[in-house]
Subunit: 109 residues, 2 copies
C-alpha cells in the first residue's frame, strides 16, 4: 500500500470537510460515517484517537470523550480521489448513540 | 435487524443526495464511497444492481454498465440518522477505475 500525506487530501471546497467511514478492525463491520476537517484529521494522526467535525454542534469532536466509547485508530485509508477516508479502529464499547454496536442496524426494504 | 423504507431516508436538502458506502460481501473490505439520489436508490432496489448519482457527469450511474465491473447488491443498510447507506455487494472484477480492487489502496501517514 502506498502512502499519502494530509496535504494531498481534497476537503470539500464549500464545507472544508471530508467524509470518514469508520470500520471495526476486529470484525470489519462498518460502524458509522462522519465528517472531518483538516484539524480533525491532524488531531487523529497526533493522538491516535478518532476526531471528527460535528456538523450539528459545529465543533471539533473527539468521539467517545464524553461517553467513554473511544475509537483507537489503527490506520487511515484514503481513496483514489483523495476525497474520502476510512478510519480502521478498535472500538471501545459501542459506536452508536442508540446503544447499538454499529449505526447501521437497519435494512432498507 | 429492523426494516426501514425509502420514504424514511434523509437525502441532503441542498443536493438531494445520500452517501453510500459500498462493502464487499465476501471479505467485508470497503470498496468505495459514492452518492445516490432517490431514483438511484429505487433503481438499486428494483434491479439488484448498484446505482448512484454521478456528481461529475450529473447523471444516473449504473456502476459497471460500461466497464463490466457490476455490483450485485445483496443488502442495503441504513444508519441511525437515516442519512447514510451501505450497499453490501458481490463485486464483479474490481471496484476502482485505477484497476485496484478497492478505491482505498493508500494509507495516510
Amino acid at each position: 500500500m502506498t502512502n499519502i500525506t494530509i496535504a494531498d487530501l481534497k476537503f470539500d471546497k464549500a464545507s472544508g470537510l471530508i467524509p470518514v467511514v469508520v470500520q471495526d478492525a476486529t470484525d470489519q463491520s462498518i460502524l458509522m460515517l462522519a465528517y472531518a476537517n483538516r484539524l480533525a484529521v491532524e488531531k487523529t494522526l497526533e493522538t491516535g484517537s478518532s476526531h471528527f467535525w460535528s456538523r450539528s454542534r459545529n465543533e471539533l469532536w473527539n468521539k467517545g470523550a464524553t461517553s467513554g466509547n473511544l475509537q483507537e485508530v489503527k490506520e487511515i485509508l484514503v481513496d483514489c480521489d483523495a476525497d474520502t477516508l476510512v478510519y480502521i479502529v478498535n472500538q471501545k464499547g459501542v459506536a452508536c448513540h442508540t446503544g447499538n454496536k454499529t449505526c447501521f442496524f437497519r435494512s432498507l426494504k
